[in-house]
């Protein structure tokens, strides 16, 4: 049982921290225009990247190097989960099979959830979404299959190469920009060819944003489902 003294000490500390933070936040009034860099991005996003969704353009185009770092962190975390929970013999130890309704329903809905995730990351430059939510949706589809079936496992032979190839593809797309005489992660589809300038706001536009977001979506989806897989399989003792 947590002692009363510890609780009250914690609450007093929190009150002090809270007062201090609120004092700071009171100088930042809510809902006022204080954009500096964001204004530049918003004014030039259509001309410079060809995307309609400014958030996507910032994530992939203006700050693509940062996103590459984030994907690397995701990869390292996923590898860490796999390494920490590695055992010589692993198997799923779930006992309760899902009911008939659940199994049939999840089999029926699985392709639709995959299709929705793909839709999210292909249309990332037009509508809200992108590779990160799309990949999470795909991982949720595999999570549903894990819940419904006792002995389901993701196709490891397909997923592990896909994960690596998606990460390599991201770097490769960036290196093409370096090769044709500009900087790393240069938007070569949009800047050099102006490919898709005629149909701005439709699917075939946005430079390399759909390409990179497809790769990110595949990577996030495979890694999150890999995390789910390694958390759910346990060691079997003979």
């Amino acid at each position: 049982m947590v002692s009363v003294l510890k609780r009250s000490l914690a609450i007093i500390t929190l009150l002090i921290i809270g007062y201090w933070l609120a004092q700071g936040l009171a100088g930042v009034p809510f809902g006022q225009d204080r954009m500096l860099v964001g204004k530049y991005y918003l004014e030039n996003v259509k001309a410079q990247t060809g995307a309609v969704n400014a958030v996507t353009a910032i994530v992939v185009n203006y700050r693509g190097f940062d996103t590459l770092g984030e994907v690397t962190v995701l990869f390292i975390a996923s590898t860490g989960v796999g390494a920490l929970l590695w055992r010589r013999k692993k198997k799923r130890t779930a006992k309760t099979e899902g009911s008939v309704v659940l199994r049939t329903g999840s089999e029926l809905l699985f392709p639709f959830i995959l299709m929705f995730g793909t839709y999210i990351f292909i249309h990332g430059h037009l509508t809200p979404g992108g590779g990160f939510p799309g990949g999470a949706t795909i991982a949720t589809a595999f999570l549903i299959l894990y819940m419904a079936f006792v002995d389901y496992e993701i196709p490891h032979r397909l997923f592990e190469p896909l994960e690596g190839l998606a990460g390599m593809g991201y770097v490769l797309v960036g290196l093409i920009g370096l090769a044709i005489g500009s900087y790393f992660l240069f938007d070569w589809i949009w800047q050099t060819w102006h490919w898709g300038a005629a149909n701005l706001g439709r699917l075939f536009s946005g430079g390399f944003i759909p390409v990179i977001y497809t790769l990110i979506g595949l990577k996030v989806g495979t890694e999150l489902s890999g995390i789910v897989d390694s958390m759910l399989t346990e060691e079997v003792r003979e």
Partner: protein, 130 residues
């Protein structure tokens, strides 16, 4: 204002009424299973009414036909997913040992589980005998 948008408004009203019924059942019902049943069943119906009603309303107000197509797709998926999730939740609740209400008379799932356990027992006994 024409027939389509009037129908849409009526559907939205009916859906809202079912939402109200489901919230009422959530308060009034005695145990987990009854509450889950009333909330899921009438909330599904209410969502269908509200969503399709919105589509009809928008078409009646002169927007494009894409509204009704999109709302029908959304309603189909709600009709597919909502009962399945409620079923899985209730099954989990039963298996984790939450008791039924005192006044319940039918427990088909419990009977099914008992019959299954008995069958397994008999099979084991026969296997031992041989």
């Amino acid at each position: 204002m024409n027939v389509l948008s009037a129908t849409g408004e009526a559907l939205v009203l009916i859906g809202t009424f079912f939402y109200f019924l489901s919230a009422l059942g959530l308060i009034r019902m005695p145990d987990v299973y009854n509450r889950m049943q009333t909330s899921t069943k009438s909330a599904t119906l209410g969502s269908l009414g509200v969503i399709i009603g919105t589509g009809l309303w928008a078409v009646g107000m002169g927007h494009s036909v894409a509204w009704i197509v999109q709302t029908v797709v959304v309603a189909t998926f709600i009709l597919l997913t909502n009962p399945i999730s409620a079923h899985a939740l209730i099954r989990g609740a039963y298996r984790s040992g939450i008791p039924l209400w005192n006044g319940s008379v039918v427990d088909k799932y419990g009977e099914h589980l008992e019959a299954k356990a008995e069958a397994a027992e008999n099979e084991k006994d026969e296997g031992d005998g041989e």
